[in-house]
Structure formats: C-alpha cells, structure tokens
C-alpha cells in the first residue's frame, strides 16, 4: 500500500546552514507519525518544505503518489494537507465561523466565481458547526479567537485544517504551552481523528503525549534522520538519548 505522504531525500539550507540533509520518511494510512528532535533539528523547516512555504533545494514530496514538490502553499492545502502552526495563527478579528469558512472557500473562488455574489456563506453554518463539533468548540461559533484561551485557539486551528477535508493533518507542537485542562480534550480530539481514519504527522516535545499518541517516531537531529521506529525502539536507542542530553 502506498503511503499517504512520502518524503524523499529532502534538503534545504538557509545561507549556508543546512537545515535539512536528505531527509526521507513515510506516513502510512491511518497512522500517527511523531516527529521529534532537539530544538533547531529542522522539524518546522520540514513542515514548511512539505507545505510549500519555501521550496526545498532537492528531493521530492509525494502525497498519495502525486508529486507536490514546489507547489504553492494554497495548492498543497487543496490537494489535501491541513496544518497548524507552532505559534497559533488564528484570524484574530473574525468570528470562529468565518475562521472555519475560510477553509471552505477553496471550491468557490476558482475562475470567475469569486465575482459572483450572494453565494450565501450562511448556508454553510451547519457544516461549520459540524467541524467545530469535532474539536468541541461549537458553542463559541460567534466569538472571536482572541476571547478564547490558547487551548481553544489550537483546537480551532485543527478544525480549520479539517475543513479542507485533508488526507493528512500536520500538527506543529499542539501541546506546547497548554495547561492540563486544555491538554486532555486535545488528546481526545487527536485520538478521535485517527479513529476516523485520518493520517497525522505530529511535531511534539512532550514525550509522554508522543508516546501515548504515536504509532511510529522519527527522530531528527541537525537536519538528519537519526533513527526511526516504534516508540519503544526509539526510546531505547542510545543515539537519541545522546542527542537530547548531549554527549
């Protein structure tokens, strides 16, 4: 079976500093793959290369066997990758409803159709409610993100990504900075999504949650894949301990 996402020999450097050196990895169907590694290992850079925020220098990114390397970010979103950001980026002054609706725009703004008016955003309120329900935020639909705590904002971002009907969800440090009462519902949300058949690529520093959620782990260090395997394998790998604690 072909993997949902296949990354082949991806490289990227910033002004001489190699952020990624021939990184390869696969995300399988209905799998949660954890991407861990010390700060500056290149995890977010990898995300940004996959999503087309900046182009990789070499290598390929395949989504369900389709080459999506160097496509613009919005094309990649259409093709089926939803993502969240390390530092949340909600549309601050728009209601949650409009935040989610933004991701539903994709089919309605092609060609001349954006100039067609009165296409009734209100009709999609049910769909927005359904999407917010997936992350447990439907009661806040008319509020702006700024009035909500960080945990809710992070869940809103997930809901916004889900509105793209993605094949793959990429979460960048979803648990960072959250309090315990925000973490529990978020864990549940991610588990539910997997049980509904979604594949997830997850960057996270909080090892206990990584262990709880992920099927497999990939460890990045200095832009290279250090090791890869099940949680138990990785945990007992001496190279990983060395990378985290320093030799």
């Amino acid at each position: 079976m072909t993997p949902i996402l296949r990354i082949e020999d991806l490289s990227k450097s910033f002004g001489g500093v190699k952020a990624l050196k021939t990184v390869s990895l696969d995300v399988g169907h209905n799998e949660i793959l954890g991407l861990i590694g010390p700060n500056g290992a290149g995890k977010t850079t990898l995300f940004n290369c996959v999503c087309g925020v900046f182009p990789p220098e070499s290598g390929r990114v395949l989504l369900k066997n389709k080459d999506i390397t160097r496509q613009p970010t919005h094309r990649i979103a259409h093709l089926g990758i939803g993502r969240t950001f390390q530092i949340v980026k909600p549309f601050k002054n728009l209601s949650l409803e409009r935040n989610i609706l933004a991701s539903l725009c994709k089919d309605r703004t092609k060609g001349l159709s954006p100039i067609m008016f009165g296409t009734g955003l209100k009709k999609h309120r049910q769909e927005v409610l359904r999407l917010l329900n997936l992350v447990g935020l439907e009661e806040y639909i008319d509020q702006t993100p700024m009035t909500l705590p960080l945990g809710h904002q992070k869940r809103m971002e997930i809901s916004r990504a889900l509105a793209l009907h993605p094949k793959l969800l990429m979460l960048d440090e979803p648990f960072a900075g959250l309090s315990q009462e925000d973490i529990t519902p978020l864990l549940q949300v991610i588990k539910n999504l997997r049980s509904e058949g979604l594949s997830i690529l997850l960057i996270e520093h909080n090892i206990p949650y990584v262990m709880e959620l992920c099927d497999r782990l990939v460890v990045l260090n200095f832009g290279e894949v250090l090791c890869e395997g099940t949680c138990e394998d990785v945990q007992s790998d001496s190279r990983v301990i060395e990378a985290y604690l320093g030799s």
């Binding site: 409009r98 991701s103 954006p114």
Partner: protein, 306 residues
C-alpha cells in the same frame, strides 16, 4: 450659502465617499496600506478627459473605460504588493503617487502643468444635464459603490480578503491564493477610485496634476481611518464628516487648518478604531453595545425560537 454652493459641496462629498469606500476595499478589507490612492483618482479623471476630448467618446462610454484602465493599473500595483510588503509597500505607494503625478505634469499628452481644460458635462438624451442632476448622478454612483462593497463584505471573496488582512500564512494554509486576492483587491479598489476621478473631471471641467497629489491620498486615508476601516458605514460617514469639516470650520477663517489637524489628532487618539467603527463610542451609545454583539444576540434569539 446658496443652493448652488450646497450642490457643489454635495458633489464633492459624494466623490470623496466613493474614493474612501474604494480605498477601504484595499486597506480595510485586504489590509494592504495604500498611500497613493489619489493617483488612481487621477488616472480615472485623465482617462475620461482624454477619451471624451480626443477620442470622441461620450461620458457614458468613457466612464467604464476609465474604470477598466484604472483597475488594470491598480492590478499592477497589486503585483508589486506581492513582492514589497507592509510599510515598504506603504512608502512605495507614496512613490507611485509621485511618479504618476509627475507623468501628468511633465508630458504634453496629459496637458502638462496646466492640465486639461474644456471637459464637457455629460449629456443625457441629447441635453446637457444640470448641476443638480449631476449631484443625483454622483449620489447614484455612491449607492452603487456602497452596494458593491456590501456585496463584497457578504461574499466569499470578502472573507478571503479579510483572512489575508488577518494573517497571510494562515490564509495560504487554508487554501487561499493570497496573490490572486491581493491583485483582485487592488484592481477593484482602483477601478472605483477611477470612477471617482471620472465624476470629478466632468464636474470640474478642468483638471490639473495638482488635484491628485499625495496630500489628497492622505486625506482619503484620513477619512477612512477617522470613520472606521473595514466597515461600510465608517468610510461613508468619515468622508461625509471630514469633507464637511472644512466648510463647518469656515467661520474660524485663519485657524481652519489648525483645527482640522487638531481634530484628526484628537479623533485618532481617542477613537483609534474610527468614530463609527466596531467599538466606537457613538455606536455603543446608539445601540447600547457594539454592533456585532447586537447582531449575534439577535441571531441567537432567532435560533432559539426555531
């Protein structure tokens, strides 16, 4: 103050409302600061003047043509905005304003520093329309522009523009092509600025490069900010207030500009979201709360009945 004087003031106010609403599409919705809007006002005016005088177009044909040309040049600025961003873009648009005015001023084709004279009043059914009907015509286009903005704000494209204003990275990740929408925003905004220019040229009947300089751009921006960006009532009421203000301050004679400047400082300092914006003092006084809260409460109440 005679009736003729009031009609003249009314026409100017109408043109300023169109200009402010059109800038609001670019800055208020799409969040791209443009400090050179008067250039597109000028492009509209010059295009229409030249088309009617040199190419024999009628006013009614020159009007859409001028809008299209202003829109196309505006789209060009939109393309520049893809590369130059934020405050760099703001200053670049000042530059664009200067360069375009310089082109008007230094080329004989555009009449040089003396501008273009002898532009005709529009004809309707073979008759020259009167000043009063011209005011009605301007008023009609104000309504058209406001209605267009209303449609935008309710449509998918309006939502797309707002997301670009809020966060470009997140908009791209949500599948929106920011480049396309920025260009669309500039094209639409500048086309309507062109409309304002056409109405101005045929009302004044002579135009000079001086009418479209950077201070005019700043006046338009100030009207928008004082009124409240990102809404429709804000730019309309802001333009109305600020265009009427110099007339209201006329008794102050020698101290007019002093008070004008002072009021801008005062209003932006104490109502930074605009006098008629979302959290404005006036709106709160009138509705008891801000408008969004009032509407969402009504929606919720409606929902419960069903």
């Amino acid at each position: 103050m005679g009736l003729g004087y009031l009609t003249t003031i009314g026409t100017f106010v109408g043109i300023y409302i169109i200009l402010t609403l059109s800038l609001n599409i670019i800055s208020g919705y799409a969040g791209q600061i443009s400090l050179g809007h008067a250039a597109f006002f000028g492009i509209g005016a010059y295009t229409s003047a030249l088309l009617t005088l040199k190419a024999g177009f009628s006013f009614w044909l020159a009007l859409p043509a001028a809008m299209i040309i202003a829109g196309f040049i505006g789209a060009g600025v939109g393309i520049i905005s893809l590369r130059i961003k934020g405050d760099f873009l703001a200053v670049t648009t000042i530059g664009i304003n200067f360069v375009i005015v310089t082109v008007f001023e230094y080329s004989d084709f555009f009449g040089g520093a003396y501008g273009i004279m002898g532009i005709q009043y529009p004809m309707l059914f073979g008759l020259k329309i009167s000043k009063f009907y011209y005011l009605m015509l301007v008023f009609f286009f104000v309504v058209v522009t406001a209605f267009f903005c209303f449609l935008i704000s309710k449509s998918w494209i309006g939502l797309a523009l707002e997301t670009i204003r809020e966060d470009e990275d997140a908009a791209e990740a949500s599948g929106l092509n920011c480049a396309k929408f920025k260009i669309i925003a500039f094209a639409m905004g500048c086309a309507f600025a062109g409309l304002g220019g056409v109405l101005y040229a045929h009302f004044m009947r002579f135009i000079t490069p001086n009418d479209f300089t950077f201070p005019v751009s700043i006046t338009i921006v100030a009207m928008m900010v004082v009124g409240g960006m990102g809404t429709i009532r804000g730019p309309i009421l802001g333009a109305l207030l600020m265009a009427a203000l110099p007339e209201l301050l006329r008794p102050l004679a020698n101290y007019r500009l002093l008070f004008y400047g002072g009021l801008i400082v005062f209003m932006t300092r104490f109502q930074p979201q605009g006098l008629f914006g979302e959290n404005a003092f006036i709106i709160k006084k009138l509705f008891g709360q801000n408008l969004r809260a009032a509407f969402s409460k009504r929606n919720r109440a409606g929902g419960e009945e069903i």
